[in-house]
């Protein structure tokens, strides 16, 4: 009896996690993929590991530490590249390694055993707390509202920022707010897929969607759907096969991407064949 309740709890958690992860990753992912911010997002992800280490050392919630690190590094890179004071890709590369270094040093200095380290690096649904799920749920609502209300403004600013500046004085505010939300999305999904793999949770679904649509709003919808299928299936497979969940989710998503791409190419080829 007890076992089945635990199992039930595990399934609910996994399912909710999959729903919220795919919503947040689909929205934020479409933004970063379209705007070619994948490398910056990788930098944010790894920089946030520094916050995790500091959280461990000083004994506060590592996710909070990661969120502060992630958001500050994201805004810092945006601000500096805006002023064209830095070579953006180099700065991201430095930030990337620096965050990891801080994280490793502080976790090393933390007295005693740190059992959750692996779960932060590679993700583990077992260590996902109810608070994590609730945070992801709130994040989903925030992102849906934000993208729903400001859809066109966000789309137009990210497509052609310099043109947007000719009619709007809100360009910078939107840029910074969206980047901060992306950073927060990444950090909250670290529990699911881990520092090393989380970025793929954001980048693969939009790339699946972009195989068959170029309409921004549809890319978002298809990304969420593809993300959900990949996450839920990956979760189930990892459960039954007893393999790490983060890696299984990413593996499943890549397989989906390859299969969809192949099918789409074949359909395209057959259509061409018919015409000739």
């Amino acid at each position: 009896m007890e076992g089945s309740i635990l199992q039930y709890d595990f399934i609910i958690k996994g399912l909710l996690g999959a729903v919220f992860a795919s919503i947040t990753a689909g929205l934020a992912g479409t933004y970063i993929v379209s705007k070619r911010m994948v490398f910056l997002s990788g930098g944010i992800t790894h920089a946030s590991f520094g916050g995790i280490g500091i959280g461990y050392y000083f004994g506060f919630n590592p996710v909070l530490g990661a969120a502060i690190f992630g958001i500050l590094s994201a805004l810092g890179v945006e601000y500096l590249s805006e002023r064209q004071k830095i070579r953006e890709d180099s700065a991201i590369g430095i930030l990337w390694a620096f965050g990891m270094a801080i994280g490793i040093i502080f976790i090393f200095l933390t007295p005693g055993y740190t059992p959750n380290l692996m779960s932060y690096l590679f993700g583990s649904i077992l260590t996902v707390t109810n608070a994590d799920i609730i945070a992801l749920g709130i994040m989903s609502v925030v992102l849906i509202l934000y993208f729903g209300i400001f859809y066109r403004t966000i789309l137009y600013i990210s497509f052609d920022e310099s043109f947007a500046r000719t009619y709007s004085s809100y360009v910078n505010i939107f840029k910074y707010v969206t980047t901060a939300l992306v950073a927060l999305t990444i950090v909250l999904n670290i529990r699911m897929a881990g520092v090393v793999l989380v970025l793929s949770l954001l980048t693969i679904p939009p790339n699946i969607a972009m195989i068959f649509t170029k309409v921004y709003s549809k890319i978002i919808l298809w990304s969420v759907l593809a993300g959900f299928i990949g996450t839920a299936a990956g979760y189930a497979i990892s459960y039954f096969a007893g393999i790490p969940v983060g890696a299984t989710i990413i593996f499943t998503l890549v397989i989906i991407w390859v299969v969809v791409k192949l099918i789409f190419q074949m359909v395209k080829y057959m259509k061409k064949d018919k015409r000739s």
Partner: protein, 248 residues
């Protein structure tokens, strides 16, 4: 004829270099002004000052708020802005030009979408409504951006080097279209190619750090020499033509 905007003893700099100095210049309601001058002379900076992207370091620019309500300025930038592989459709890009008339929270109405369809048809882009820029030719992309610049029905249209991308088959259509637009909006067209625009504009502004305005579309060689513009002579004969003078 009322002025849309007026610059008074205006100076502007770019990266701490003074690019425009002591400029007095006005744009009237139905003007069609060709902005000419050498590269780096301040032509684009002039447009950016009008768009509010660069603040003058000295002097001022005064807008006629009755005519130029809010941001009623259409802008066709040089093609480099905007990522061609960005997943956004032709219709959405053209609709983005409506933002000059929108408040932050207002949405696109059905009427806006009808207007976008009309513009797509007029610019010969039918069938490409849902295409992204990566599927279009350079000339077609240019027309999409022209559509974006005019859909908000601005009172002033700024064109930055449109000649660079207009394909030859569309060139005549393009200038005919501008002529028609000029009936309801003033146009300021930047070009380094005087020959190309000479038969279309009503007047000239020569920009090379300073600005000299020529009310008629004919410029004498002496004037050009005095202002340090490219040495070309433009005449209006039976057929508009350009005579290139030898370099001094």
């Amino acid at each position: 004829m009322a002025n849309l905007l007026e610059m008074r003893s205006l100076s502007a700099s770019y990266d701490n270099n003074v690019v425009l100095e002591n400029v007095d210049f006005a744009v009237g309601e139905n003007d069609f002004i060709g902005v000419i001058g050498p590269n780096g002379g301040g032509k684009t900076t002039l447009l950016k000052v009008i768009l509010g992207l660069i603040k003058p370091v000295k002097g001022k620019i005064i807008f006629n708020d009755d005519l130029l309500k809010g941001n009623s300025i259409g802008y066709l930038p040089q093609i480099s802005t905007g990522d061609a592989s960005y997943p956004v459709t032709v219709t959405d890009i053209i609709l983005s030009g409506m933002m000059i008339r929108k408040r932050l929270l207002s949405r696109m109405s059905a009427h806006d979408k009808v207007k976008a369809r009309e513009i797509i048809e007029k610019l010969g882009l039918s069938g490409m409504e849902r295409s992204s820029l990566s599927e279009l030719s350079g000339g077609q992309i240019q027309r999409v951006f022209l559509g974006r610049a005019i859909i908000g029905n601005p009172k002033l249209l700024l064109l930055d080097e449109p000649g660079n991308f207009v394909d030859s088959t569309f060139e005549n259509d393009f200038y005919a279209k501008l002529k028609e637009l000029n009936n309801r909006m003033a146009i300021l067209m930047v070009s380094h190619d005087i020959g190309m625009i000479s038969s279309h504009v009503k007047s000239y502004a020569c920009v090379n750090r300073s600005l000299h305005y020529h009310p008629s579309s004919e410029i004498s060689n002496e004037q050009l020499l005095a202002y340090g513009c490219p040495i070309q002579l433009i005449t209006h004969g039976e057929v508009p033509h350009t005579v290139l003078k030898t370099h001094s």
